[in-house]
């Protein structure tokens, strides 16, 4: 164990040290080799102009390089690969796309993604709004919010373990250790193998994501609600509005733009959902989703790059418009030019 630890620490130090060294080193070198000199007459010759026009590039070079390799190149390459066969060598035109839209698995994944898309964002946004509103007016609201917020800190896989435990199924004669079946049995029913239930099992997987994403919505809405001027609410009270009316007619319209941002952000996350499905069912029992399918094809039968890339492109086409819209709104909120 100790040697592992030491090895890890060394790796960490090296990795970080190198980057630090790059910046400090290159800047020092620049100052040293293009420093101000004295000319023949002993006057100071400033080479600041040349020096300072090089320096910015030192600052941004690593970033540009890494971005180029890890984001720019892959985007182009994925697009290209989607037109090639499984090894990436042979050009096949639109064959992959045609295959995709006729492939049963692919269409099933799309159907499932659609279900996720409709249910999860609306549920998370609605619940998040509800909780933020309720917690706002209660002295123990902060504690409540922290507790509900906690699922956001853990990994999707960790969450999957937790919920697999909740959904656990034992035979009808055995003692149930999963809460859900325990409740069903205590109410007189038979235990159910939830995650293999046709069609409805998707719902049980969605619950996990809702569990994780609702706190996100809750936090954003909490901040937004605090931004609603108190006196518009008081004016509404004086105008005779009941609390429910105040919420729907005065508060909600004022945070509408936030609602939209939260909704679309969760939508984007849903489109790329992978970990939960992988950990819970690995796509079995008709729970397959696009991101999972893509991962599958990346390694199935030695890896089919063509088909995998095609699916990636499909995901991208769905996600990018929403993201662009989201970023535009975010920029507007931040008041950026």
């Amino acid at each position: 164990m100790a040697s592992q630890l030491i090895g890890a620490v060394i790796a960490i130090v090296l990795g970080i040290g190198f980057s630090l060294f790059y910046f400090a080193g290159t800047n020092w070198a620049l100052d040293h080799w293009l420093g101000d000199r004295s000319d023949a007459a002993g006057n100071r010759v400033s080479r600041a102009h040349r020096r300072e026009s090089i320096r910015p590039w030192l600052f941004i070079a690593p970033a540009l390089l890494i971005l180029g390799v890890y984001l720019v190149y892959p985007v182009v390459e994925t697009l290209r690969l989607s037109f090639f066969d499984d090894t990436g060598e042979g050009f096949v035109g639109l064959a992959n796309y045609i295959w995709a839209f006729q492939d049963g698995e692919f269409l099933l994944a799309i159907r499932n993604n659609l279900m996720w898309l409709i249910i999860v964002p609306s549920a998370s946004t609605g619940l998040g709004l509800l909780i933020a509103t309720l917690a706002d007016r209660v002295p123990w609201g902060t504690v409540a919010k922290s507790l509900i917020f906690m699922p956001m800190a853990i990994s999707f896989v960790g969450a999957s373990v937790i919920w697999k435990f909740v959904y656990d199924y034992r035979g009808p004669d055995a003692e149930q250790i999963g809460i859900l079946n325990a409740i069903v049995v205590s109410l007189g029913g038979d235990p159910v193998h939830w995650i293999s239930l046709p069609f409805w099992n998707n719902l049980f997987l969605m619950v996990i994501l809702i569990w994780i994403q609702t706190p996100f919505a809750m936090v954003i809405f909490s901040a937004a609600l605090r931004g609603v001027p108190m006196d518009t609410i008081e004016a509404a009270r004086i105008d005779g509005a009941k609390p429910v009316q105040i919420f729907f007619k005065v508060v909600l319209p004022q945070i509408m733009s936030t609602v939209v941002v939260v909704w679309t952000t969760i939508t984007i996350i849903v489109l790329k959902i992978f970990d939960i499905v992988l950990a819970m069912t690995n796509g079995q029992w008709n729970t397959e989703v696009l991101a999972n399918l893509m991962y599958d094809w990346m390694f199935r039968g030695g890896g089919d790059f063509g088909r995998g890339s095609t699916i990636a492109i499909v995901i991208m086409v769905a996600v990018i418009p929403i993201m662009i819209w989201n970023i535009r709104r975010f920029q507007k909120e931040e008041g950026m030019r």
Binding site: D231, T232, A235, I238, D239, M256
Partner: protein
Amino acid sequence: MATVKLSNVKKAFGSVEIIKGVDLDIHDNEFVVFVGPSGCGKSTLLRLIAGLEDISSGELTIDGKRMNDTPPAERGIAMVFQSYALYPHMSVYENMAFGLKLAKIDRKVIDEKVREAARILQLEHLLQRKPKELSGGQRQRVAIGRSIVRDPKVFLFDEPLSNLDAALRVQMRIEIAKLHSDLDATMIYVTHDQVEAMTLADKIVVLQAGIVEQVGSPLELYYHPQNKFVAGFIGSPKMNFVPVEVSAADAGGVTVTLPGGDNLKVPVEAAGVEPGQKLTLGVRPEHMSETGEGDAAIPVQCVVVERLGGDTYGYVHTEGVELMTVQTDGTSRMKPGDNLRVGIRGITCHLFGADDQALPLLERNDLADIGKSGILSGAPGPAPAVH
């Protein structure tokens, strides 16, 4: 129009008492101003009348009916907030119509009322705009318009002019005065600005730390302040306070020794006053004479001179007082460094005891009954601002 009465009203937030027992009688159609420094509780008092906060103990009645437990919407009040509190997602028309719509009033009636209010406030051309498209003054008027359509018994204003710039404030002050005379309504107005208080009020309520220090007409408070706080709060520039010692006390008044040695007789009741007692003399800057005219004079040195053109303020120093303000007209030749003798007359002075209470004047000053600020009823309002 309605009467409002508060009886020993107290308000505590947790263990902190903000309002410590207020009694107030507000008559029909009166314009009452709550005034006082920050934190004195004037806004809280207003909110108690509005129903936005619960009264801890005591009674509030409007038109004779107990209102402690009645929700705001049923008290017959309307409120104009400091920040206007307009609904940003609704147009001006919808803002004004909101309360009436909630009360399920017929659409035609709502339309009439809104247009009438818009007419009074010259908002007709703005009805379809959203609040963010309006200037500060226009938003202010929409906020007032929203109150008017409710036909309330009592109008409540919570520092409505604080967010406006100086020029606009003067203009809006006149408009509110005009509103009062046109609408014939009971209005309760909260401000920290004593100029607004003096110019708008039928009656001023001076508050400090949750207690009413004095209630009276503006000039009543100016000429007959009952304690040092009110004396220093009302009147601008602030009254000067000079520590003095009593040299004699008789039926004609109390004689005190001023810095510099002169004796001044002030016509106040001498009961309980002993020679040798230390009192505070209060004299307003406008009642001090740079040329030394008066019953007695104080030797001072001029430290700062401020020339405003029409008036001149001289800040002077004398023994026992860091700085006093002397107000003269623009022709004064005072210079910093000048040594002068400033004259004061006993009849315009006040004396305050160690408990800061004013010694009662022997004779009422009838200037206090000149009357209050007013506006010609039905006069055309100021021209609509270009903003």
